[in-house]
Assembly symmetry: C2
């Protein structure tokens, strides 16, 4: 098997890590090891949904590198109309850089000295590196916040097209590797940083104890870049005060992504959460394919095509399965997190730039009949030990809520609805992939499946259901 390395053609802004990963012997071993272990998955029988043979039938596997720059990101939206950065074949690997949309909360630690990130966040009186931020009107005629109106906030890298993908197919996305983006500012060499914003869209916002009420608070966290520590720590926090962007718009709240925070105007409180270690759980808040229901779709509410699911288990070693909705699938990645709790209660995680390596496996609709992936209409997560389904208040809100879905979704969500959807999806999963009757599935869900809160801050609220693979390894012994 040969590994061919490709760097995304417009990668002239690429910095840092070499794109030629396969030429690094340790990397080559890593990738080959991955393929070998994927093949082994076939032996797990009913406990595995992956059929790695699809990839292995090819004699040439390519590895692409997609940097995150002002030319390669789409900020705050998914769109089936976006031109793919690269088209890959089933089985190929793609390393994708992702940049957090909260980096300007601390320019010194999360932007400065990193040309790629600088290019994305560039904003002077006449020009922004990336003008559109969100799915709103480009002329900001709705709220006057800025182009795209911040109706969608995530810096998404992509899309990556998968050759031959069509609606009805399933795209399997394996997350093979993932690591924090090192700080490029020499002052903080060897470190990485993230930001947590307790913001107006948080579950806590109208339910505070202390004055002033309400308030938005940003906490800056330090994350270990080397991977030696499994915890992050808080450095300082500050309360948001009105910030004037370079175009002169005043942002009284965190209503538009990438607004430069003027640290001369905020009060930094150092030594917060002093004795607390946050276990790290690096993952992507946003991974998904383009929906077909609308041309430009707010990146915040997750849906059947994935997107902003915000499940911390979507990290290294995990595999996602998405229903393909448009030709080419059009996969994008963003919203990188160093850690998050189930619920993402205050509105955000530790938002921290990450680079991930993915393998894409396309399962054509015609090959799905009789397999575990037949009739999969929702994003499914497989980890080493578990399967997870993702329930949303509205499983496909763009279709469910009609023409005004993109605004209505913010008014209609509830945890109760999301739990209902997670129940239905887990029942479907157990009945289709494990061959259980409805009575068996319902009993099993009550005695052996765990339901938890994914997030209550993304418009379309999410609940997940977790079933361990070890349940299906045989009842007798």
């Amino acid at each position: 098997m040969a590994n061919h390395s490709h760097t995304f053609p417009r990668s002239d802004t690429l910095q840092g890590e070499s794109p030629a990963l396969p030429e690094d012997p340790s990397r080559r071993r890593f990738i080959q090891g991955t393929i070998a272990s994927s093949a082994a998955l076939g032996h797990l029988g009913a406990a595995s949904l992956a059929y790695a043979q699809t990839a292995l039938q090819r004699s040439t596997i390519s590895h692409y590198h997609v940097p995150a720059t002002d030319q390669t990101v789409h900020w705050g939206y998914f769109s089936k109309s976006l031109k793919p950065l690269v088209e890959v074949e089933s089985g190929d690997f793609v390393t994708i850089e992702t940049v957090t949309h909260h980096a300007y909360d601390d320019y010194e630690r999360m932007i400065k000295g990193d040309p790629s990130v600088e290019s994305i966040y560039y904003w002077d009186q006449t020009r922004k590196g990336v003008n559109r931020r969100g799915a709103g009107p480009i002329d900001a005629s709705l709220f006057g916040r800025g182009a795209g109106e911040g109706l969608g906030v995530h810096i998404c890298t992509g899309p990556v097209a998968i050759t031959g993908a069509e609606p009805g197919d399933i795209l399997e996305v394996r997350i093979l590797d993932l690591k924090p983006r090192p700080c490029a500012n020499p002052t903080y060499k060897g470190k990485s940083f993230g930001s947590n914003a307790a913001a107006w869209w948080g579950f806590h916002y109208n339910d505070m104890l202390e004055e002033p009420k309400p308030r938005e608070v940003i906490t800056i966290y330090e994350v270990d870049t080397t991977g030696e520590r499994d915890w992050a720590r808080a450095l300082y926090n500050f309360r948001w005060v009105p910030q004037t962007d370079p175009f002169g718009v005043v942002h009284k709240t965190i209503d538009y992504p990438g607004v430069p925070v003027d640290h001369s105007k905020v009060q930094e409180n150092w030594g917060v959460l002093k004795k607390v270690r946050i276990p790290i759980r690096p993952h992507f808040g946003v991974l998904g394919v383009a929906p077909q229901e609308a041309d430009i779709v707010d990146s915040i509410p997750p849906s059947y095509t994935g997107g902003n699911i915000d499940n911390w288990r979507i990290g290294k070693g995990a595999t996602m399965y998405y229903p393909v909705a448009v030709p080419g699938a059009l996969f994008s990645a963003g919203d990188p997190h160093a850690s998050q709790g189930d619920s993402e209660l205050c509105g955000t995680a530790i938002e921290c730039s990450l680079t991930g390596t993915f393998q894409f496996i396309l399962h054509k609709q015609a090959t799905l009949k009789g397999t575990a992936l037949e009739s999969l209409t929702y994003p499914l997560l497989e980890t080493q030990t578990e399967f997870l389904v993702h329930g949303f208040s509205f499983p496909n809100y763009l279709a469910d809520l009609g023409p005004s879905a993109q605004s209505d979704i913010y008014k209609k969500s509830s945890v109760d609805l999301a739990l209902r959807d997670a129940f239905r999806k887990m029942r479907h999963f157990l009945m289709t992939t494990q061959g259980l009757s409805e009575d068996e599935a319902v009993s099993l869900m009550s005695v052996g499946v765990d339901f938890g809160v994914t997030q209550v801050v993304d418009g379309n609220w999410g609940m997940h259901a977790i079933v361990k693979k070890s349940l299906f390894t045989g009842g007798e012994s």
Copy 2:
């Protein structure tokens, strides 16, 4: 230190296990070992809420044994008016037998040959072993189901009074040991069994795919008694058909606990969930103290005094903290489960009789000032590695909903409300026990606390929040 063994005075019906646990050398070592490790808890500092010294100041520790018989259980309700079976001092141990209220789903496997359980379930044309089942009218004038009307279903053993306990104190309850009750029928020697009822109060009930709709389904599980296997397996299931109780009342649905199931009238389907192993998580669905708001309280909705919390983490090694609401605290145990998933989706767990050994530590109100237990107004769970708070749709529904609370609670619950309460309680926990500011607590909750579904089937729905103790072991290194 001396161990004095007491058997509950009315234990003439006790069978099986010897009550004289301390005379078994291995048991003695176990208990002493427990006390030693409790003392060690004092070294955990901020990460531990337990102050075992309270118990160790006494030179005499007693160990009581409370069997479950028709004379020692209260079925379907808590009451501050119940005469205590035994009064113990802070530091004492009590072994409490608990019997599942679903045993009559399979008389052969869960009742037959066990005189204690037979006495509880006894029911002929003229007499029931335990007449009142539930908090409803004793003359069944409301629905005609039976005495107590099944408004409350759990067979609770107790109450145990704690000497000197008064409202405002905190009762710490340590679960030191817990094991399934072995089947007493020689045909099934060495095995234990449990029942899972997918019932009309389940989250799935009005949302089924297959006919007939709706339906109630009972699945009988086999549980390993020896402790060598960490999984249970399903044996068979059957659909509920109308059952006529010995008094002649027809129960079209599972509307009254302990109705004998006539197996000549049901269709047993063997071989269900054939290749599935259910991980066991033995725990008590119901542990709690008597509330003060009403005299006789339905055992189903959990509240600030605990009760039917249905969190599978309330098992061996766990410690619960309850606010004492009435003199003596009046602790009872019931609703034993062999396993349950987060949500208890279909209405029940694997309902399986268990015997537990508990230690009670009383924390007097005057000693709480400045400690982690000050101002604790909700049931708190501590495990080896985690703290959990329990949120409910209504934190104290008896007070929150007024005079008709006991019926209204079944109409007003939502997961959204329970999540709101869990958020508030976790914020309170972090601010009071860890000394965090509100801003610190809110950020930490979003990046390092996990919110999950405890149950959505107990009237007062529950969500929990989990924070790992390892977070508080020091931020620097």
